[in-house]
């Protein structure tokens, strides 16, 4: 069905323009994103996202949930960074309650975050290969990701939407096998990482499709509010783990990965090197998990004082902000999630317009969009 605006748009188009709909069901959009693209020959002249195909109004549902329950709705936003989303929400409640969480909980939270980041980047790498026409990376990426998901399954009870955070710490202690399994994973992954680079990074076809494609300038990056690897590929330092360290990130040694080329290949390299940094963080902490409680004592019904609280975390895709307005009752008055993908999507216009239609898939792959996080 064509709606009213579309007919207007079609009448405004010139004779040589070609209007193309990508999605909502398209393999390279990785979800229900619909893009309306205007083409002149093979060149993209206009691009317009149409959203709302998976809008569930999570912000409204939060207003009806208690401070303990709303956290788990957010696993369904960016499901590949489920742990970090939960962490941001738990942190905002802790901020309101002025609750200090035990050291053990902090360390386990960081470990889980970095494992999630690794799993997310592995999935991104696998799908990028597939989007650009290589089938093998898909299997290699998923092979390693499976090991992480099994670790999650053992400790948290689920593989994807882990729901492991509670206000005051984590829900239960780690599984006895956790440290052993993480060590086994790290050993295997470090052995496999050169294979990743052999398959894609050094591949001439891959480099030709990504180098110099989809340039985003640092000024536009900031103006569009981009964050995460998308911004760091343009040389904009924006890692919340460094800017405003949370939950003990100030005590671990790692580098913020920056590339300055601003093209697809730079964004690719940022994610690849970020995986190495995540491995570094996990190695520092895995044998040094402090003993003690894993959860601070909290009341059964949480009530936040009247006021406003904001927490920021670095998910696998960028900065997630949680803005909580409390009116002093046991339910949030207003929740707002500033999701990284929402802002990154707005830069797609800048990246893709002027390029060729064939490069659109590469551009989309390097933005690494997760659509439920955009629609919420």
């Amino acid at each position: 069905m064509i709606d009213k605006e579309e007919i207007e748009d079609l009448t405004q188009a010139h004779e040589e323009d070609f209007i193309l709909n990508v999605g909502p069901q398209h393999p390279s959009t990785h979800g229900v994103l619909r893009l309306k693209i205007k083409l002149q020959g093979e060149t993209v002249t206009h691009i317009e996202p149409h959203l709302g195909y998976i809008h569930r109004s999570i912000e409204k549902m939060c207003e009806a949930s208690s401070y303990r329950n709303f956290i788990y709705l957010t696993s369904r936003m960016d499901y590949l960074s489920a742990h970090m989303n939960n962490q941001a929400c738990a942190m905002v409640v802790e901020k309101g309650l002025q609750l200090e969480i035990p050291k053990r909980a902090k360390v386990i939270r960081i470990l889980m975050s970095e494992l999630t980041r690794l799993a997310s980047h592995q999935l991104w790498w696998a799908c990028t290969g597939l989007d650009l026409g290589a089938t093998t990376p898909f299997f290699v990426g998923f092979r390693d990701r499976e090991v992480i998901l099994d670790i999650f399954d053992e400790t948290c009870g689920s593989r994807l939407t882990m729901d492991y955070n509670v206000p005051g710490g984590i829900m239960f202690d780690i599984h006895p096998n956790f440290q052993k399994n993480v060590h086994a994973f790290l050993k295997g992954f470090k052995k496999n990482l050169p294979e990743y680079h052999q398959l894609l990074t050094g591949n001439v076809i891959f480099q030709n499709r990504t180098k110099g494609v989809g340039y985003l300038s640092p000024e536009d990056t900031i103006s569009f509010g981009c964050s995460g690897p998308t911004a760091r590929g343009s040389g904009v330092s924006c890692d919340i783990r460094k800017w405003q360290p949370y939950d003990g990130y100030e005590d671990v040694q790692f580098n913020e990965v920056l590339e300055t080329a601003g093209d697809c290949y730079a964004r690719y390299l940022v994610r690849m090197r970020e995986m190495e940094e995540s491995v570094k963080i996990i190695e520092q902490l895995i044998d040094n998990i402090p003993e003690g409680d894993f959860q601070a004592k909290t009341k059964a019904v949480l009530k936040l004082p009247k006021g406003e609280f904001y927490s920021r975390v670095e998910t696998a895709r960028g900065e997630l902000g949680v803005y909580l307005v409390s009116d002093g009752t046991s339910k949030p008055y207003r929740m707002k999630f500033r999701s990284p993908n929402f802002s990154n999507l707005s830069a797609l216009r800048e990246i893709a317009v002027g390029g060729k239609i064939g490069d659109l898939v590469a551009n989309m792959a390097m933005l690494d969009l997760v659509i439920p996080d955009i629609d919420r």
Partner: protein, 150 residues
């Protein structure tokens, strides 16, 4: 700048503001004064608020707020601007998407969920929902199918 210096800086440009300190410095301002203050905060090199990291709406029943979270990457200071709108029937505020490009999508979202119109926005349409739908995040919204029981 520290919060105290920011207060002096903002009051010098727009005297009729209300400050409140929580995690950030909150600045409540009438909706018709917002645009000129926002432009001043962006263009003045001493303030240089170049990164709009969150734009949201809040409905307080007797008035509505559009909340802008701003940070300066150079000076590392933050400020929160709140545009206060008392007219619930025809709420309006000037767009800031010529100052920060990210506002374009964010303002469409606020329009979609709160019904706040952003004047001179280049492409103000509903973002997620149908044109016939109400504004779900307003507190007087009637949820016909009661998916969310408040």
């Amino acid at each position: 700048m520290t919060n105290e210096e920011l207060k002096i800086f903002i009051s010098a440009h727009t005297p009729e503001v209300v400050f409140e300190e929580s995690q950030f410095l909150n600045t409540t301002i009438s909706f018709d004064k917002l645009y000129s203050l926002a432009k001043h905060l962006r263009t003045n090199p001493d303030a240089d608020f170049d990164y709009l990291f969150c734009l949201s709406g809040v409905d307080w029943k007797d008035h509505m707020l559009v909340v802008y979270h701003l940070t300066s990457r150079k000076h590392k200071h933050n400020v929160v601007l709140k545009a206060k709108i008392t007219d619930r029937v025809n709420p309006e505020v000037h767009t800031v998407c010529d100052i920060w490009k990210t506002a374009e999508l964010h303002e469409r979202e606020v329009y979609d969920l709160f019904g706040i119109k952003f004047t001179e926005h280049p492409d103000l349409r509903r973002l997620f929902l149908d044109d016939t739908w109400g504004f779900p995040l307003r507190k007087d919204y009637k949820d016909d199918v009661t998916i969310v029981q408040l």
